[in-house]
């Protein structure tokens, strides 16, 4: 870098000073131009965030007035982007309710109608595709999901020698994804549903690494939904359109279930394999199933996540 020299220093002559000034200006000019050129892709940036969204508080810290403003902003943004006036609500959990899902593996025929209903109901991106439900085709006699086929595509289902196991968010009682989130952008509500504040998530994808069920999905690109397909009945913690760079997942259709309706995947199931309800109500269908069926399992029970999603058999 430097040579050892002990010669006494002298101030540079004025002409040298001018020359070095010109030289450094030229270097700085070239540097600035190069920097500008390297930043050029930013020109394509479409509306990424707004001051309002950037400064928005965490869901749990918002007052009702704050929330009203946020819902108005979301409504405005959705209308601008999709030409549809949405009905966005902040639906809170009901008292005395804890939701549980039960899925009858004997009945599921692997038609994937639930997958499509879920995409339509929950405004999931069509390109790139995001789906909350993954139906696994399993070989007869095994529950080892490493043997599963995700991309089966036969003429007709069900196929002989296989059974089908749809997997979606298991709404764990002890959710690993919630524990790992560095910013509390995801949490479990008192009705048992694990939700995400899409406006608070920083997109580190740690929850995605932590989830043992592949239930968490990341918006690797700006989600795209055809305007005519948008479902305008929306909830803040539910199916409102997401932004690029954030996580999303199954939330048991909060926009439906917290107003007394069934999740979309259940309604569409042609085999009647899906059951949903309040486990705290002893008269509910899920309570009956869990108290009368001889065998029901939780997926990867050994991990201690304690899912609120049960698989059972007609025995």
């Amino acid at each position: 870098m430097n040579s050892q020299s002990d010669a006494p220093g002298k101030a540079p002559a004025p002409s040298m000073r001018r020359r070095s000034f010109l030289r450094s200006s030229a270097i700085f000019g070239a540097g600035a131009a190069a920097l500008a050129a390297s930043l050029k892709p930013l020109m394509d940036l479409e509306k990424f965030t707004s001051t309002e969204e950037f400064l928005q508080k965490h869901y749990k810290e918002m007052s009702p007035a704050d929330m009203a403003k946020v819902l108005a902003r979301i409504s405005r943004e959705v209308e601008k982007q999709y030409d549809v006036r949405p009905h966005v609500r902040d639906l809170r959990p009901m008292d005395g309710v804890e939701f549980v899902y039960a899925l009858n593996l004997t009945r599921c025929i692997g038609c994937r109608k639930c997958v499509h209903a879920c995409v339509a109901e929950n405004n999931q991106s069509r390109s790139p595709e995001i789906q909350y439900i993954r139906v696994l085709k399993m070989p007869h006699g095994s529950l080892d999901i490493e043997k599963s086929d995700h991309n089966y595509d036969p003429e007709k289902v069900p196929e002989k020698g296989f059974f089908y196991m749809p997997v979606q968010c298991q709404q764990c009682e002890n959710p690993p994804c919630v524990k790992v989130c560095p910013v509390n952008a995801t949490w479990q509500e008192k009705d048992g549903i694990t939700v995400i504040d899409y406006d608070w998530c920083i997109g580190c994808r740690y929850c995605m690494a932590a989830c043992p069920y592949g239930a968490r999905h990341f918006n690797f690109a700006k989600p795209s939904i055809p305007k005519e397909r948008l479902n305008p009945e929306m909830a803040y913690l539910g199916n409102r359109p997401r932004k690029i760079g954030v996580m999303e997942k199954c939330h048991f259709c909060v926009q439906r279930t917290r107003t007394g309706r069934y999740p979309a995947c259940l309604e569409v199931c042609p085999a009647g394999a899906r059951k949903f309800g309040n486990i705290l109500d002893p008269e509910s269908e899920v309570s009956k199933i869990l108290s009368t069926k001889r065998v029901f399992i939780q997926l990867k029970e050994e991990l201690g996540t304690s899912p609120r999603f049960f698989y059972y058999f007609d025995v």
């Binding site: 870098m1 430097n2 040579s3 020299s5 002990d6 010669a7 006494p8 220093g9 002298k10 101030a11 540079p12 450094s24 190069a34 920097l35 050129a37 390297s38 930043l39 892709p41 930013l42 940036l45 965030t49 950037f54 965490h58 696994l136 080892d144 999901i145 490493e146 043997k147 599963s148 995700h150 997997v167 690993p176 524990k179 790992v180 560095p182 910013v183 509390n184 952008a185 608070w200 998530c201 920083i202 997109g203 580190c204 994808r205 740690y206 690494a209 043992p212 069920y213 592949g214 990341f218 918006n219 690797f220 690109a221 690029i244 760079g245 996580m247 990867k300 991990l303 201690g304 996540t305």
Partner: protein, 426 residues
């Protein structure tokens, strides 16, 4: 008080100025690094606009080279402690005047780590959600929040220690022990913590059997204390060659013994892991099988991991044999261990955790060009930072940049003349 502030500002200005002067080799090196950094910025702008879709990551393999490099560099940063311990605990004379170069490397490495995590974020604009008080840091539940705390803390500790010692040297006064010795000892424990916490980041995930193993922490430390000092050995020789700063071969050989022992432990721990994975033959071996032998015809990582293993083994033998007392062989061993461990911890540790996926799907990962450019950009940024820090530190340690020669003009090498009145105390 104001005089003290003014003095400090003069010090900072002179340091900043000196970063812009050097001989043609310096300009060529800095120019090259700047060009790579700009390419990286350009690639990052593309990623910022289009999203992480421009990387090779996806729903199945959701972390890639960014987090791999991050993991490796946390190790490099932690390894500075391997110079600090001999100096401050065992009073090693040879390394005494060199320890600051290790700490500056830690500073550069931590900055690279922070850059790698930032480019991995989907919403970098929301980074403030991590700041306690205005955001919501999920501490202590999330290991990532621990990482945020320990990495930034380690950065501050090292900036303080290096900055204080260099400023004292600049002023020609003896540093007050109370101002840095306690921090040095905190930094020693802290260095171990940064890499342990980074290991726990993976270890704590029950859904990923490949990572959910208690040996990950020890392996991380062993590999860090191999690759880090190996990098310092190479860096010190470059410093010696270009600045004539006195660095003895004995100092390099002290570091060699550290690399030697760490590499043996590293290989031993690897054998432990391999045995446990393959001898039991439980279903959870799938990831390890994928990494080492390929799974159902998918074998993208196989050549990488075997390269790493061969490099590590050659390096280990070189380090154990007396030949590596000659710098030529020592350097070869260092280069091999750095590459070997980089592969082992990046591609070999992060990726197989995702293959097969938690639902048993095999999707292979390959970094995209854009992702690679960003990674190179961050490496170049780190080297740029390290070079600038050295460009400031070396003349200060040599007494060429001191309070005593303020306002003396500069010689043709861009530095002021040495004024002998400067006390060389440390």
């Amino acid at each position: 008080m104001t005089q003290a502030v003014r003095n400090y500002i003069t010090f900072l200005t002179r340091c900043a100025r000196i970063a812009f002067v050097g001989d043609w080799r310096y300009y060529a090196w800095m120019g090259l690094l700047t060009a790579i950094v700009l390419l990286g910025i350009n690639a990052y702008c593309k990623q910022f606009v289009h999203g992480l879709i421009v990387t090779g990551m996806g729903d199945e393999v959701s972390w890639g080279v960014y987090i791999g490099n991050f993991t490796f560099l946390v190790g490099v940063a932690a390894a500075a402690v391997m110079m600090v311990i001999p100096v401050y605990i065992y009073r090693n004379k040879e390394l005494h005047d060199l320890v600051v170069f290790g700490e500056l490397l830690a500073v550069a490495a931590i900055l690279m780590c922070l850059a790698f995590v930032t480019v991995d974020l989907g919403r970098p604009d929301r980074f403030w959600h991590l700041i306690p008080g205005i955001g919501q840091l999920n501490f202590p539940a999330s290991m990532l929040s621990w990482d945020v705390v320990v990495l930034n803390g380690y950065l501050l500790l090292n900036v303080h220690i290096c900055g204080y010692l260099l400023y004292c040297r600049y002023c020609g006064r003896t540093p007050s022990r109370w101002f840095y010795i306690p921090f040095v000892f905190i930094a020693i424990a802290w260095a171990v913590s940064i890499h342990t916490v980074t290991a726990f980041l993976y270890v704590g995930l029950g859904g990923r059997p490949f990572w959910n193993s208690s040996i990950v922490g020890p392996r991380f430390l062993a590999s860090a204390f191999t690759a880090g000092p190996a990098l310092i050995i190479l860096a010190l020789q470059v410093i010696r060659a270009v600045t004539h700063y006195p660095i003895s071969d004995k100092a390099l050989l002290t570091l060699r013994s550290i690399v030697q022992v760490s590499m043996i432990i590293n290989v031993f721990l690897l054998i432990n892991e391999l045995f446990k994975e393959f001898y039991t033959g439980a279903t959870h071996v799938a990831s390890a099988k994928y990494l080492f032998f390929g799974l159902h015809g998918h074998n993208a990582l196989v050549p990488w991991i075997w390269t790493a293993i061969v490099f590590n083994l050659i390096a280990m033998f070189l380090l154990v044999l007396p030949v590596s007392r000659s710098l030529k062989w020592l350097n070869l061993a260092c280069v091999l261990s750095i590459i070997g461990i980089w592969i082992e911890k990046g591609m070999g540790m992060v990726i197989p955790g995702f293959v097969p996926s938690t639902l048993g799907m095999i999707v292979e990962y390959q970094p995209s060009t854009n992702e690679t450019l960003i990674s190179f950009g961050i490496w170049a940024f780190g080297l740029l930072v390290y070079t600038i820090l050295l460009r400031m530190a070396v003349p200060i340690l040599q007494g060429r940049l001191a309070r005593a020669n303020e306002g003396c003009g500069v010689l043709e090498d861009g530095l002021p003349p040495k004024v002998e009145t400067a006390i060389e105390a440390h």
